[in-house]
C-alpha cells in the first residue's frame, strides 16, 4: 500500500485538494493578508454555530414526524371466533393485532386462517362462497384456501396462520419458522 494514501481518500482526490490549497497559497502570496481572513473565520464560526443550532431544533421535529410504533396487541395467538359461529363454506374477518385476519370454514368443515391483507395493494380480502376462493374486491385478485395467489395481480401468497380449536373457541396463531 502506498504510505501517502489515506484510508478512504483516493490519490486523485488528494491531488485535487492539494492543488487547491497550492492555488490559494499562490494567490495570497502576493499580498499581505493570510489565506483565511479574520472576517471569513468569524463568518465560518457564526455560520457554523447557526447551522448547528438549526440542526438541534430540526432534529426533534424530524423525530416527531415519525409516528411511534403501536404495540401489537397481545401475543401471537388471538381468539378468532367460536365454534358454531361459522357455517360451512363461509368466512369472517377477525382482528389479528392491528391488522385484519381471515378465518374460513371450508365446505368440508375444516378451519383455515390467513392474513386478510391483500399482497397486491393492501385491500382487505374476503371469502367467496360461490368461488370457494379468497377474493380481493379491489383488483380481482384470487387466492386459494392455503393463501396461495392463484389469479390476478397479487404478487405473493397471503401469510397463512395456524388454527387451533380449544373447547368451543377458535384460536389463530402465527406460524413459527421451522
Amino acid at each position: 500500500m502506498n504510505p501517502n494514501e489515506t484510508v478512504g481518500v483516493s490519490a486523485k482526490a488528494r491531488k485535487v485538494v492539494m492543488a487547491t490549497i497550492d492555488e490559494v497559497a499562490a494567490k495570497t502570496a502576493g499580498n499581505q493578508s493570510p489565506p483565511v481572513s479574520r472576517r471569513g473565520f468569524v463568518s465560518l464560526l457564526l455560520g457554523g454555530s447557526f447551522v448547528a443550532s438549526a440542526v438541534a431544533f430540526l432534529y426533534p421535529v424530524l423525530r416527531y414526524l415519525n409516528p411511534p410504533k403501536m404495540a401489537d396487541m397481545g401475543s401471537d395467538s388471538v381468539l378468532a371466533g367460536k365454534v358454531g359461529e361459522l357455517k360451512l363454506n363461509s368466512g369472517k374477518i377477525f382482528r389479528f393485532g392491528s391488522r385484519p385476519g381471515l378465518l374460513v370454514r371450508t365446505a368440508e368443515g375444516d378451519y383455515r386462517a390467513m392474513s386478510a391483507t391483500c399482497t397486491h395493494l393492501s385491500c382487505t380480502v374476503q371469502y367467496r362462497d360461490d368461488l370457494r376462493e379468497v377474493w380481493c374486491a379491489c383488483h380481482n385478485g384470487k387466492y386459494n384456501l392455503e393463501g396461495r395467489n392463484i389469479s390476478g395481480p397479487p404478487p405473493r401468497p397471503l401469510e397463512a396462520f395456524d388454527v387451533q380449536v380449544r373447547g368451543d373457541e377458535i384460536f389463530v396463531r402465527r406460524r413459527r419458522e421451522a
Binding site: 426533534p60 421535529v61 416527531y64 414526524l65 415519525n66 409516528p67 411511534p68
Partner: protein
C-alpha cells in the same frame, strides 16, 4: 456565472424582484434611546410563526372529540418522540406571544405611535390582540382537561351575560346548551381554521401599514431632533435592523426551547362533566384581571346584575380602546395627556388585578 446567481437572475427577469424589494432597501429605522421597543412587534410575529408550525405538527396526532382529545394529547406527551417538546413549545409560545403582544401595545401607547396617520395600524393591532385572546381561549379547551372544561364553562357563561345577544352567542359558542363534545369540535374549528385565517389576513394588513407608513418617532425624540437636526440617526432596515431582529428571534427560540425543556406543560386530569369543579379554578393569566374584577362586583348594583354590569363595562372599555387614536389630536406636535394617563391607569389596573387574582384564594 455561479448557479445561484443564474437562478437569481432567472427569477429577477420574471418577478421583477428589484421593484418588489426596493421599498425594503429604502426603509430605515429611527435610531434613538427607545429604539429597543421596535423589536416587540417582530418578536410577536415570530412567536405567531412558531405557533403555526408547532400547531401543524400537533395536528398530525391530535384528535378532537370528548372521547379522544385528552387521550391523543396523552399519546403526544408520552409516546410520540419529542411530542412533549412540541406541545410545550406551543403552550409556552402562546403565553409569551400574548405577553409580547400586550407589551407591544403598551409601548405603542406610551411612545404615541398610534397617532395620525397610524390609526388603522392601531385598529388592526388591537383586533389582532383580541384574536390572540380568542386563540388562547379556544386552544385552552382542546386538551379536554378539568381546568379547561370549567374555564370554558365560566367563560362562555360570561358571554351569555351580554344583554340581548348573550343567549344566542352562548349557544353558538357551545354548540348547544352545555359545554360538551360539540363545544370541543367548534372550538377546534375556531382554533385551527377560522382564527388563523382571519389573523393571517390582519397580520398582512398590519405589516403592510407598518411598511407603508414607516416607523413612528416618539414626539419627545422628534422635538429633540427638530431642535438639533444633527442628532437625527437612523439605521437601514435591511440588512442592519433585520439582522438584529433575527438575533432577537433567535434568542426567543432559545428561550422557548429552554422553558419547554425545564418546565414542560402538564396535561392535568381528563374532564368529567359530572364531577364538581375543583378548588382554585382560575382562567389563564391574561384573563385574570377580568375574572378578578367580575369577582369583586357585588351581585346587584342598583337594579342591574353585577355580572351584566361587569361585562358591559369591559365591552365598552374594549370599544374605547379600539377607537383611542381618534380621540388624539391630529396635530403632530400636540398630544393629549389624558390618553397617556388612561394608558398608565390601564397598565396599573391590569397588572394589579392580575397579581391580586393570582394571589387571591
Amino acid at each position: 456565472m455561479s448557479p445561484i446567481n443564474a437562478a437569481s437572475n432567472w427569477l429577477k427577469e420574471r418577478l421583477e424582484w428589484d421593484d418588489l424589494v426596493a421599498p425594503l432597501r429604502k426603509k430605515a429605522v429611527p435610531l434613538h434611546r427607545l429604539s429597543y421597543w421596535y423589536f416587540l412587534g417582530g418578536i410577536t410575529l415570530f412567536l405567531f410563526g412558531v405557533q403555526v408550525l408547532t400547531g401543524i405538527l400537533l395536528l398530525l396526532y391530535y384528535r378532537p372529540g370528548a372521547n379522544e382529545a385528552f387521550e391523543s394529547i396523552q399519546h403526544i406527551m408520552t409516546q410520540v418522540q419529542y411530542g412533549w417538546l412540541i406541545r410545550s413549545i406551543h403552550s409556552w409560545s402562546a403565553n409569551l406571544m400574548i405577553f409580547t403582544a400586550f407589551a407591544h401595545m403598551f409601548s405603542v401607547l406610551f411612545l404615541k405611535a398610534y397617532r395620525k396617520p397610524r390609526e388603522l395600524t392601531w385598529l388592526t393591532g388591537v383586533v389582532l390582540l383580541f384574536l390572540l385572546l380568542g386563540f388562547g381561549f379556544s386552544g385552552y379547551l382542546l386538551p379536554w382537561n378539568t381546568l379547561a372544561f370549567f374555564a370554558t364553562k365560566v367563560g362562555t357563561e360570561i358571554t351569555g351575560q351580554i344583554p340581548f345577544i348573550g343567549g344566542p352567542a352562548l349557544i353558538f359558542l357551545r354548540g348547544g346548551e352545555e359545554v360538551t363534545g360539540a363545544t370541543l369540535t367548534r372550538f377546534f374549528g375556531f382554533h385551527v381554521a377560522v382564527l388563523p385565517g382571519i389573523t393571517t389576513l390582519l397580520i398582512l394588513a398590519h405589516l403592510l401599514l407598518v411598511q407603508r407608513l414607516g416607523m413612528s418617532v416618539p414626539p419627545k425624540v422628534e422635538a429633540e431632533w427638530t431642535a438639533n437636526p444633527f442628532a437625527r440617526r437612523e439605521m437601514k432596515f435591511f440588512p442592519n435592523f433585520a439582522l438584529r431582529e433575527l438575533m432577537a428571534w433567535y434568542v426567543a427560540l432559545g428561550a422557548l426551547g429552554a422553558l419547554a425543556a425545564i418546565s414542560p406543560w402538564n396535561l392535568g386530569v381528563k374532564a368529567d362533566p359530572f364531577s364538581p369543579a375543583p378548588a382554585g379554578i382560575k382562567p389563564e393569566w391574561y384573563f385574570l384581571f377580568m375574572f378578578q374584577t367580575l369577582k369583586l362586583i357585588p351581585a346587584k348594583v342598583w337594579l342591574v346584575d353585577g355580572e351584566v354590569l361587569g361585562v358591559l363595562v369591559f365591552g365598552m372599555a374594549g370599544v374605547l380602546w379600539l377607537l383611542l387614536p381618534f380621540f388624539e389630536s391630529t396635530k403632530a406636535s400636540v398630544t393629549k395627556s389624558w390618553i397617556t394617563g388612561l394608558a398608565t391607569f390601564a397598565l396599573v389596573y391590569i397588572t394589579g388585578m392580575s397579581v391580586y387574582g393570582y394571589l387571591a384564594k
